[in-house]
């Protein structure tokens, strides 16, 4: 199927949300010299050995001032040099899996002494197609605490971990807006925020409560920065540069935002000490849907 409006909307919104949270909240932590541990992942390409870190979702956006975006790893005491995905990506020697917080190396050596410098997002971001009750009550998550572990561990790949923000497009509606067939598309996106502490939760809710009237550039999925390895397609990614390529004049408009928190009384019903909040976005876009 070719790309539809909804695909563009979710792609654009996720990239914007990531940048907005990292920029306004400096919601990341830099780590340097983190030892990457070898582990076996049967889902990974058999030509590659996998070396994992204790954290998922490393920062990819170079527009975030101060965040360390890895471009390679250090093996032993020797940095591998600048890592260039254009020449050493899918068919090259190495890929950095930013989403799963790991490095894939084309090698049969399982005993590399590998370290890496990177920034980890304080909140992982996931697009979920699940109800709030499933997200909060039914699902089982690993807590990927941002406190550096005392022992060398790796976080399992693929599974969703918290602290995290889960997005869901709740409803979408078109109505006539202007002569000539222009329509106003209103989409509600609900973000469920799960945090280890109240401070972090309040921070996220506060940042996005102030996002009303923000404009978001519509970025097609073909410009999503990550490839099939969750590695950068072109070596670097800068949200500000990317969004400038697409006019905000006909962009997505945040018409309304409501934030709320799960009350303490309700929280007591949960069997884990997790803080939960909600951000309800009402996003408008004026467009010609028949074109």
């Amino acid at each position: 199927m070719i790309e539809q409006y909804h695909h563009k909307l979710t792609n654009s919104f996720m990239l914007w949300f990531d940048n907005y949270l990292l920029t306004k909240g400096e919601a990341y932590t830099n780590y340097s010299g983190v030892s990457l541990q070898h582990y076996v992942d049967e889902r990974a390409d058999s030509d590659y050995e996998v070396y994992g870190s204790p954290y998922k979702q490393w920062v990819i956006d170079s527009s975030i001032t101060g965040a360390t975006i890895p471009d390679g790893v250090t093996i032993g005491n020797t940095p591998t040099g600048a890592y260039d995905p254009l020449t050493s990506g899918r068919h090259g020697d190495m890929a950095i899996d930013f989403d799963n917080g790991r490095v894939l190396v084309k090698s049969s050596n399982e005993n590399h002494d590998m370290t890496c410098d990177f920034a980890v997002k304080d909140f992982n971001l996931y697009f979920a197609n699940e109800t709030e009750e499933d997200l909060i009550v039914e699902n089982k998550y690993t807590i990927n605490s941002r406190i550096y572990p005392s022992e060398e561990v790796v976080i399992d790949p693929y599974d969703q971990v918290i602290p995290a923000v889960f997005f869901n497009t709740a409803t979408a509606q078109n109505k006539g807006f202007a002569f000539g067939g222009m329509e106003e598309t209103t989409t509600t996106i609900t973000a469920t925020v799960m945090s280890e502490d109240n401070y972090m939760l309040d921070g996220v809710l506060s940042i996005f409560a102030d996002s009303r009237n923000e404009l978001i550039s519509v970025v097609p999925m073909s410009d999503h920065p990550l490839n099939e390895f969750n590695d950068l397609k072109s070596g670097t990614y800068n949200y500000k540069d990317l969004s400038k390529q697409y006019s905000k004049c006909n962009g997505l408009y945040i018409n309304d935002v409501t934030t709320s928190k799960l009350t303490d009384r309700a929280r007591k019903s949960l069997s884990n000490d997790i803080f939960v909040g909600f951000i309800d976005f009402e996003i408008q876009h004026h467009r010609f849907r028949h074109q």
Binding site: E138, K140, K261, A266, S269
Partner: protein, 192 residues
């Protein structure tokens, strides 16, 4: 036809509006009160209102839950709560005042609440920043229903779980506050 002298015309222009004003006011008040009463009655007899007012033992007469459970329990209200009361209080406060600018009659300005005014006084019991009355129109998750259930602990491990798992039914949106206010805003505008 004989034209009235100018001084008589001027006297009539001055006196007639003043004389009729009281009649206009009486008529308007009567129609306003009747329409306001009709509006509140329509709200009170709305299936959603009836279902929530009936409390935790109600049946799902609104059909929003496919007959499973009822809105009072689904939203997560506690027994004894009266979630409808704040809405009634806002509707009861609907009033009018005399406007200016009319020489031959009286202008009335009716102060009708916005949907957002009602959303602001109808918080979800489990997340007070959200409104249950807005949720009736846009969708409500079954979280309140699940969280309201107590009981023994279930699964173990590092996970977020309620102490007693209960499957919620799906919720179907239905027009509620916004539609009611819009309908009566048009009716109030037509009062003469």
């Amino acid at each position: 036809m004989k034209i009235l002298p100018r001084d008589v015309q001027e006297a009539l222009n001055k006196q007639v509006p003043r004389t009729l004003k009281n009649d206009f006011k009486k008529t308007f008040k009567k129609e306003f009160d009747s329409l306001k009463k009709e509006m509140i009655k329509e709200f009170l007899t709305h299936p959603v209102t009836l279902e929530i007012s009936a409390g935790p033992s109600s049946k799902n007469i609104s059909g929003t839950l496919n007959g499973t459970s009822n809105l009072f329990a689904f939203i997560g209200f506690s027994p004894g709560e009266d979630p409808i009361k704040p809405i009634i209080e806002i509707l009861e406060r609907i009033d009018y005042k005399e406007g200016s600018g009319s020489k031959t009659g009286v202008n009335f300005l009716v102060d009708i609440p916005q949907a957002s005014d009602i959303f602001a006084v109808t918080p979800m019991p489990w997340a007070t920043g959200r409104s249950w009355s807005k949720g009736i129109e846009t969708g409500i998750s079954g979280l309140g229903y699940l969280l309201n259930k107590g009981g023994k602990s279930s699964r173990s491990g590092v996970a977020i779980q309620v102490k007693n798992r209960v499957r919620s039914g799906g919720f179907s949106n239905t027009p509620y506050i916004s539609a009611l206010l819009k309908k009566y805003e048009n009716k109030f505008k037509k009062l003469k």
